[in-house]
């Protein structure tokens, strides 16, 4: 059995464990009710997307430095997954927000930053899809990848200060505080599951890219 398949099975087990933890083990949250269980999707999604974009940055810099195709495959695969998980973050966050805040969307700091992040990396994938020459694609994508990653803290601060102008009141974070240890454990299990799934997807996606380049 290859490592990839093992990862796949581990991810599957992890996801089932996560579901069990989220619905069986963790209690119904006092204030938000059952809707809080969406956090077992939302928080692991956003953490996974950060992991993905971190790998895009590493792959981009490494490709520009070494020009080895493997780094560009990493960046491309991680970028694809980053968009997937960021999209999932936004959707699950929005569904959580409707019963909690009463609205599907609000321009609060975190949602806005995440939406901008999503747009940056969709552009990244679009750029990659429009260039056929692997070397040019790797170089150009790497430049956008580096710029996009370095821009993240700049976006974070600008959005935070921008929101402070319009809404001085605090917004409820997704995690209740203080965190019930059972909820904390369920979050942890789901986070591990998502990370395993991410690594599995990454491994498969990179293998596909490697095979396609051989053609």
């Amino acid at each position: 059995m290859t490592i990839t398949r093992i990862l796949g099975w581990l991810a599957a087990i992890g996801l089932i464990a996560g579901l069990a933890a989220g619905f069986g083990y963790a209690p119904r949250e006092a204030i938000q009710g059952n809707v809080q269980r969406i956090m077992y999707l939302h928080v692991p999604s956003v953490l996974t997307s950060y992991l993905a974009f971190g790998l895009v940055l590493i792959g981009s810099i490494a490709y520009l430095a070494t020009r080895r195709a493997g780094w560009d495959r990493l960046a491309g695969a991680a970028g694809e997954l980053g968009v997937l998980f960021t999209g999932l973050t936004i959707v699950t966050g929005s569904i959580w927000g409707k019963p909690t805040w009463g609205t599907w969307w609000t321009w609060d700091a975190r949602l806005t930053s995440t939406a901008v992040l999503f747009c940056v990396y969709v552009g990244y994938l679009l750029l990659r899809s429009l260039i056929e020459d692997p070397d040019a694609r790797g170089r150009y994508a790497a430049v956008v990848g580096v710029l996009g990653a370095v821009n993240i803290p700049i976006v974070h601060f600008s959005v935070k200060w921008w929101r402070a102008l319009h809404q001085p009141s605090t917004i409820l974070g997704p995690e209740p505080s203080p965190i019930d240890p059972a909820i904390g454990l369920a979050l942890f299990v789901n986070w591990i599951a998502f990370t395993l799934l991410f690594v599995y997807f990454l491994s498969r996606r990179m293998e596909i890219a490697r095979r396609e380049e051989q053609m």
Binding site: Q32, I38, L88, W96, P99, L197, Q214, M215
Partner: protein
Amino acid sequence: MPANWGYVIAAYGIAAVALFGYWRHLARRARAVAARPAAKGRRA
């Protein structure tokens, strides 16, 4: 506090569709790449 199971099911449903869909997308692509003639040779 209403049960709001509808929202929970919607969120988990969309997540399942997205992740399972991506898995199937990967499987399809892997099959397409394997089916191409391997005789094309390796890139330098």
